[in-house]
């Protein structure tokens, strides 16, 4: 018995020893090999980050007038941990809250549930259902009310008044965006929208909880990081129940910088008014070709400082009220904006593509000289010209006989330009036949003037336009060949039902394109020279080209932002002008063109009537660009004063008639307002120039016009490095005072505990 039992005790010994060794081995493994992981987990466990939002900077005009600032709104927010600690997970409070704010309990629950948490149905909370990506300790904004809405605010304030009935619910005032100038410059300013789940995980959006607003359009979007500032973080030490036991560290919020635009509120207002009035006038004018009034569905007008490329005014009609986006735009309102035929959300100035018509002749004049034609030469201006098998005529069949380029520009004689373009085409064709490359002088010149590529303005969605040459046509034809050739066989039966003539024309076109579409024929080059056919430009491109002619040949990137002012006014920074290039045109030719354009607004010029009585010469060019099946696009491109140019003004009204009758009078009104000629004071500053210095911030944080003496604190300038050629096109997003990265990671989300 003893032996049996003793040997069994030995077995028990082995079992005991192996169990103890197992425990020790596992403990040692956890604490050494795996230790770092758990040390990190322990630290994440006890620290919660509370985000203190930074005030968003204002957007100011060149004189410090607020274009966008902040107002207070009543924000109802819910602290989930405090709701869950109540009986039945706070069902009673949530039900009361739902009645007050009119959002169903289920939806409130979704909004405040941390993303990734396992829901009752076993799925995890995601952006589909709505979820909170911030700290569980952070109050989650559920609904906000503009302080303008007095009745609603009073009702919702009941939450604050009866705090004891709403534990875990706060109703507090918080800043929201406000547009003191209403819809003015809406396309420039843009609007804010909530950050998406995907964006929230991106590095530049660190410490932005869900529901945070970021710039979605306009300068709000391009300069979002500077305007947004840096959210502060309070690192709280918490225990199991989420009770705060101490503060580990605090990083205060850094208010966003105020963005100063070169836009001038007064001139912007006048420009918008002139454009709107001009469009309204056009709609009362009868189109002699179609027999109806001009549709003039939209328009754009731009004022640029020619010496710097800064935008003084940029109007696009129709426009929208950015206030619609404050507090979240409703689906209905958004659909109304996106389905409006006038496309009010798009800026016609930067996103409208149209043939420039005769305003393009400054390019053609320079191109003709580059092609070898003398700037002082005499060219014939017959009523029409046969090029290939097609007849190209002047507007209303005018003819002026032998004239120089000056007269050709002043009278807008097309046949002169047809001829010089055709001559160049013939030279290129001869070169090609001889196996040499085509010079493509006209398209090359157009590109040098900034057409066919983005202007580089500090706005999103800037378009490139279209400049056609032989290579482009060939590539395009290769892409479209299949479609065109199919159409050449089938024709356009769907068009023939309503418009047989148009269908026949389209069929003819398709047949030509199928076989010869790659050919850059003489007609193409002729139309190109008068800004018709396959030439598409944005009004902004045209304004920059005219500015370059005006300033002696420097092509600038257009700029809206002039500088930044810190919220406390202690630092400021000025953004430099960015050169895009130099026109490959001699000063004498530029001077010739400027002088010729000055004649356009004189008696006998195409804009002579519109500018009758204007006290000093304005250089300009009208444009009437034919559009297939529609009334022509009315253009006027100009700069003033003609002898010492300061500002360029470009106006465009599609389906608006001739440049002389619609666009030129609008430009005249803008000049009148700028120079104070319509019995009103000048909108430019003393000496006819806009302020070059930035506005200043008073000690109390309010903004004063440039030049105001502010006692303390003094400005401390921040040097902005000149843009390097390595990043020529990054001008719009060049970071100034990018927010510093915070040294710690996001905290994990955890609130519930399991069964013990």
């Amino acid at each position: 018995m003893k032996d049996q039992s003793r040997s069994r005790i030995v077995v028990l010994r082995v079992v005991v020893l192996s169990i103890l060794l197992t425990l020790f081995g596992r403990l040692a493994y956890l604490q050494t090999a795996d230790g770092a992981k758990y040390v990190q987990a322990a630290s994440n466990n006890r620290v919660r980050n509370i985000i203190t939002p930074a005030a968003r900077g204002q957007v100011l005009d060149d004189r410090g007038v607020a274009l966008v600032n902040n107002k207070t709104a009543l924000v109802v927010s819910v602290t989930r941990s405090r709701i869950l600690s109540q009986p039945h997970a706070g069902a009673a409070v949530l039900a009361r809250l739902a009645r007050v704010i009119g959002i169903p309990v289920a939806q409130i629950t979704n909004i405040i549930t941390p993303c990734g948490e396992v829901l009752k149905n076993g799925t995890r909370a995601s952006s589909k259902t709505g979820c909170w990506n911030g700290s569980p300790l952070q109050p989650v904004p559920v609904r906000s009310y503009s302080s303008d809405n007095a009745a609603e605010v009073r009702r919702v304030l009941a939450i604050a008044e009866h705090a004891e009935s709403f534990p875990g619910v706060q109703a507090q005032y918080a800043p929201v965006r406000q547009y003191p100038q209403k819809s003015m410059a809406a396309h420039v300013l843009g609007y804010l929208g909530p950050i998406s789940q995907a964006e929230a995980s991106m590095a530049q959006y660190r410490n932005l909880p869900s529901g945070s607003l970021i710039g979605r359009s306009g300068v709000e979007s391009v300069y979002d990081s500077q305007l947004r500032g840096t959210n502060g973080v309070q690192k709280l030490q918490v225990d199991m129940s989420g009770t705060v036991t101490g503060t580990v560290g605090t990083v205060p919020a850094q208010a966003g910088q105020n963005l100063v635009l070169s836009l001038d509120a007064g001139i912007q207002k006048a420009t918008e008014a002139a454009l709107a009035k001009g469009i309204a006038t056009a709609r009362t004018q009868r189109d002699p070709v179609r027999g109806t009034n001009y549709a003039a569905p939209k328009g754009a007008a731009i004022v640029v400082e020619v010496g710097t490329g800064r935008i003084v005014a940029m109007a696009s009609n129709p426009t929208y009220d950015p206030t619609l986006f404050v507090g979240g735009i409703s689906t209905k309102e958004y659909r109304a904006l996106t389905t409006d035929p006038g496309q009010p959300l798009l800026s016609n100035a930067t996103q409208g593509l149209f043939s420039p018509g005769s305003t393009f002749k400054i390019v053609s004049t320079a191109a003709a000289v580059a092609a070898g034609d003398s700037i002082n030469g005499i060219y014939n201006c017959p009523p029409s010209l046969m090029i290939g098998n097609q007849r190209f005529g002047n507007f209303e069949g005018e003819q002026f006989g032998p004239i120089d380029f000056r007269t050709a520009l002043i009278k807008s004689c097309d046949t002169v330009y047809y001829q010089v373009a055709y001559d160049q085409w013939l030279r290129d064709e001869a070169a090609l036949k001889a196996g040499k490359p085509a010079q493509e002088v006209f398209p090359k010149q157009a590109r040098a003037f900034g057409f066919g590529s983005k202007t580089g303005i500090d706005l999103p969605g800037d378009l490139s336009g279209l400049i056609t040459d032989r290579k482009y046509k060939l590539n395009f034809w290769k892409q479209m060949k299949a479609v065109e050739c199919k159409r050449a066989k089938t024709g356009y039966p769907e068009v023939a039902k309503t418009d047989p003539a148009r269908a026949a024309y389209l069929l003819q076109l398709a047949k030509e394109n199928c076989t010869d579409g790659y050919r850059y024929n003489a007609g193409d080059s002729a139309l190109f020279a008068i800004g018709q056919g396959d030439v598409l430009v944005t009004p902004l491109q045209l304004a920059m080209a005219y500015s370059a002619v005006a300033n002696g040949g420097t092509l600038y990137e257009p700029r809206l932002a002039k500088g930044f002012l810190s919220a406390d006014g202690k630092t400021y920074s000025t953004l430099p002008s960015v050169k895009r290039g130099t026109l490959p045109v001699s000063q004498s030719v530029l001077a010739y063109i400027r002088s010729a354009l000055a004649g356009v607004t004189q008696q006998g010029g195409t804009a002579g009537f519109a500018f009758a009585g204007f006290p000093f010469p304005v250089a300009g060019k009208t444009g009437t660009a034919d559009v297939l099946g529609k009334a022509p696009t009315s253009w006027f491109a100009s700069f003033a004063p003609a002898n010492k140019p300061k500002y360029a003004v470009v106006v465009m009204v599609p389906e608006g008639g001739t440049g002389a009758t619609t666009a030129a009078p609008i430009a005249r009104s803008i000049y009148d307002a700028m120079y104070g000629l319509a019995g009103k004071p000048s909108l430019l500053g003393p000496g006819g120039v806009l302020p070059s210095a930035l506005p200043v911030v008073r000690p109390d944080g309010t903004i004063a016009p440039p030049g105001t003496r502010v006692p303390v604190p003094p400005h401390r300038a921040v040097t902005i490095p000149k843009p390097t050629s390595a990043s020529p096109s990054s001008g719009s997003t060049r970071a100034i005072g990018a927010p510093a990265r915070l040294p710690w990671s996001e905290e994990p989300r955890r609130t519930t505990r399991g069964k013990p």
């Binding site: 018995m1 028990l12 169990i19 403990l27 040692a28 322990a42 609130t751």
Partner: protein, 398 residues
């Protein structure tokens, strides 16, 4: 072979009245000299370390509530003192005479377990294994039942008849019958942890008793089969989840994996020497539920590190080593089985308790012997130590 019919003499011998107390204490045959001091010191150290850990685990919460931060340590000390008294009684009564009381101990334990299931029982911390007495006292009868099973099995298997050298099949069946009743009652609570300890104790005592290997092996196999195939159908979902967490430690860290996850973080972040007593972020932040009772080991792991946690395992090893030594030196089978039963009990309970804080065993409501806070467990544990000393003292006489 012991001649059981011979009248026995008490080891506490009567002395002439002239001998001084001091002399009596230091006499070679005095019970004090006969005690296993190594065992006692190891147990004493475990209780002391337990006190520190309980203090660290509870002071923050008690302070937040405005209560005495040392309240739990003080109660721990009181429990240990009462346990010491009970253990002394258990040590002094000749264990061979204890056999006569074994049926009563067994009966009382079963009554206690029945009472838990009756309206007298109550649920504390999710375990329906308590009887709440007036004046704020609570009893956990399953702790005492472990003691009763050890003594009861030792009694049945330790009585050899007709010169048998090992238990007959009939004895084994009797023992299983004896165990089945309390085991069934514990299953009804359900106290899954105690059940596992019971099964391990039964196997240990049976094995050491010299019972046929087919029984030991068969029971082991049956246990594995029941555990593998039947238990998943009988257990409740939350109990199964505890196994799932062991299989997959990352499972649902916010839900049923929370305790295990937090315990792992506490132990794992301790490093070699820990964050210092009272400085564990997991412990002081009260991230681990039931830390002073079932999860007390995590306080050591986090605040005292590998040195502290390993030290506790070492001290437990000393206790188990002395227990095994007593078992092998016991002069009769009853004493040996009592010792083997106590060792099996402490071994497995320590394994389950520490193992769950290390993520290798499912979470059950088992305290760590001597270290965890809790009166019933402390009393039962110290009475078991008393029995070990009892067997130890009386194995030297021969």
């Amino acid at each position: 072979m012991t001649d059981w019919s011979t009248p026995r003499v008490s080891p506490v011998r009567l002395r002439p009245s002239g001998v001084s107390v001091r002399e009596r204490m230091l006499d070679r045959t005095s019970p004090l000299r006969q005690l296993d001091w190594v065992l006692l010191i190891a147990v004493g150290l475990l209780i002391a370390v337990g006190g520190l850990l309980i203090w660290s685990a509870t002071r923050q919460r008690e302070m937040v509530l405005g209560l005495d931060p040392q309240a739990f340590v003080k109660k721990h000390a009181i429990n240990a003192t009462i346990g010491l008294a009970l253990g002394t009684v258990a040590a002094l009564v000749d264990y061979r005479a204890l056999r006569a009381y074994a049926p009563f101990v067994y009966g009382a334990s079963c009554l206690g377990l029945i009472a838990v299931l009756s309206p007298l029982g109550s649920t504390i911390n999710g375990a329906h294994s308590w009887i709440v007495l007036p004046a704020g006292f609570q009893i956990q009868p399953s702790e005492f039942a472990k003691l009763a099973i050890v003594v009861g099995m030792a009694m049945l298997l330790g009585e050899k008849r007709d010169g048998e050298s090992r238990p007959r099949d009939m004895d084994v069946v009797q023992v299983l019958g004896l165990c089945a009743f309390p085991l069934g009652l514990i299953m009804l609570q359900p106290d899954f942890g105690s059940m596992m300890v019971f099964i391990f104790v039964i196997l240990g005592v049976l094995a050491v008793s010299g019972a046929p290997a087919r029984w030991v092996g068969g029971l082991l196999l049956a246990g594995v089969l029941v555990g593998g195939f039947v238990a998943p159908h009988l257990l409740k979902d939350y109990q199964l989840n505890r196994f799932r967490v062991v299989a997959n430690p990352g499972a649902d860290p916010q839900g049923f994996g929370f305790n295990v996850n937090q315990a792992l973080i506490a132990n794992g972040s301790g490093g070699l020497t820990g964050k210092g007593l009272f400085h564990g972020t997991q412990t002081q932040g009260r991230f681990i539920p039931e830390q002073q009772t079932d999860f007390v080991f995590t306080v050591a792991g986090e605040e005292l590190g590998l040195a502290g946690g390993g030290g506790i395992i070492l001290l437990l090893g000393v206790v188990l080593w002395r227990g095994l030594r007593i078992a092998s030196q016991a002069t009769d089978l009853f004493g040996r089985l009592v010792a083997a039963g106590v060792v099996s009990w402490f071994t497995f309970q320590s394994f389950v308790n520490i193992g769950m804080t290390l993520g290798i065993m499912p979470v059950t409501g088992l305290p760590l012997p001597f270290v965890s806070y809790g009166g019933s467990a402390m009393f039962a544990n110290l009475m078991a130590i008393g029995l070990l000393q009892n067997v130890h003292m009386r194995s030297r006489e021969m």
